[in-house]
């Protein structure tokens, strides 16, 4: 005899009735996705934990108004997390310079060595370089990559979270992927200099 796990909505009803077990179950089920979304968006573990905590604090409020007909609870919670992250970071404020954080040459120089891009790097280096490239994207492109590629949400769910059209999600993702490829492309025309000047980025 198999015991069916309660759905999110059933747990939510229990939470509203004051059931701590229901709250703990929902937290354990959904906190990981929220934490990872925050981490992939911000790159900061401390901020991600704060955001995760704040999302569930909001969840236990009485004025928490989730409408199940408008989408899954996870998407709703990620939407709250997104707003919190934007408040913390500000628009287009959080950037990680890839050149600043690398030693012994830029990631792109090593990533696309010779004619075999990505192949000569170890798996760990590849993942780390892509993580930094994602973090360096402007926020509106970063969030579609995080939602559609890393969280593996559908275009429809991502559009619901971002409150935009599905076509907008699609076009932003296409553009973001192009930007990622450009960021990971080797800069062959630049001679390696002993003292690399930190490049100012233009986000116009």
């Amino acid at each position: 005899m198999t015991v069916l796990k309660p759905t999110d909505n059933e747990l939510l009803s229990g939470i509203l009735a004051g059931d701590e077990e229901a709250f703990a179950a929902l937290y354990r089920r959904r906190q990981g996705g929220i934490y990872r979304f925050a981490l992939q968006m911000s790159g900061s573990t401390a901020l991600s934990e704060d955001v995760t905590q704040e999302v569930f604090m909001i969840l236990m409020r009485d004025d928490f108004n989730y409408d199940a007909s408008r989408g899954p609870l996870q998407a709703f919670l990620i939407g709250i997390a997104r707003n919190l992250i934007r408040q913390r970071l500000g628009r287009e404020q959080f950037y990680v310079s890839m050149d600043d954080e690398q030693e012994g040459g830029s990631v792109s120089d090593r990533l696309y060595a010779d004619d075999c891009p990505l192949e000569e790097l170890s798996r760990g280096e590849t993942i780390e370089s892509i993580r930094k490239a994602v973090l360096s994207l402007p926020a509106r492109y970063r969030e579609v990559v995080v939602l559609c590629e890393l969280q593996e949400l559908s275009y429809a769910d991502a559009a619901g979270i971002l409150q935009c059209a599905i076509g907008t999600v699609r076009s932003r993702l296409h553009r973001a992927r192009g930007m990622l490829i450009e960021k990971l492309r080797p800069q062959t025309t630049i001679e390696p200099a002993p003292d690399r000047v930190k490049q100012a980025r233009c986000f116009a």
């Binding site: 703990a24 354990r28 990981g32 995760t52 604090m57 892509i130």
Partner: protein, 265 residues
Amino acid sequence: MNCERFQDVISELARESMMEAAERTTALEHAAQCRSCAANLEQEQRLSEGLRALAQEMSSLSASADVEARVLQAFRERKTTPVVVPLPVRRSRTRYWAAAIAAALLIVFGLFVLKAQLGRQPDKTAETLPSPKSVDTPVGGSVQQPETPKDRPRNEVVNNSGGSAPRRHRRIENRKPTIPDANQAVAATTNKQQRAEEVVTDFFPIGYVNATSLQEGGQLLRVELPRAAVARFGLPVNMDRPGDRVKADVLVGTDGLAQAIRFVQ
């Protein structure tokens, strides 16, 4: 399929998203023939692999146990404090419709009154005050004793919150001073002569006119207003000189609120 069209679908192709089988076939055929597009597709596919690897590596990450402890503690504290759950407010559309209809009726009524006032204006604007005494006679007939200068100094600036007329620089003259000295008596005589030559309009109600207050009496106050204020009551104004000031009589009820206004020329 050409290269431009191929670029449109390259992301979907690399992500192995759902797409039409025919389009997918033609795109792959194009990549087999075009070296540049094939290289781009390979880059996109490698990017997808890298993103999948990143997602997989992060899939085990979660918030620390401290966060869970803090959140559960907050939930327990919330349970111990009584919670007042507000009743859901039912907002029916009929209330909005009723309000909209009421607003529309109010606007129509206002326009009707305004039109009636404008229709009577040519006859009434030529009205001349018969005597200075009539100027000071309130609508209700029984005049209450005016305030003494001690109660309200002359040229007091009043902020009238009860009316819709402009609020700044309303200089009020006490229309019935107490027994004046000789100079004041001469000045009063001069004022009466001036008023005998004045042409006035009808009274225009200011905001909500309290009929009870008017029956109890009131007081006329002479003020000066910008010319633009005349236009607010629907009277023709020479807007070449909007900054000029015009005289007006404000009828103040016993409750101290402005009830009506008329303009003086």
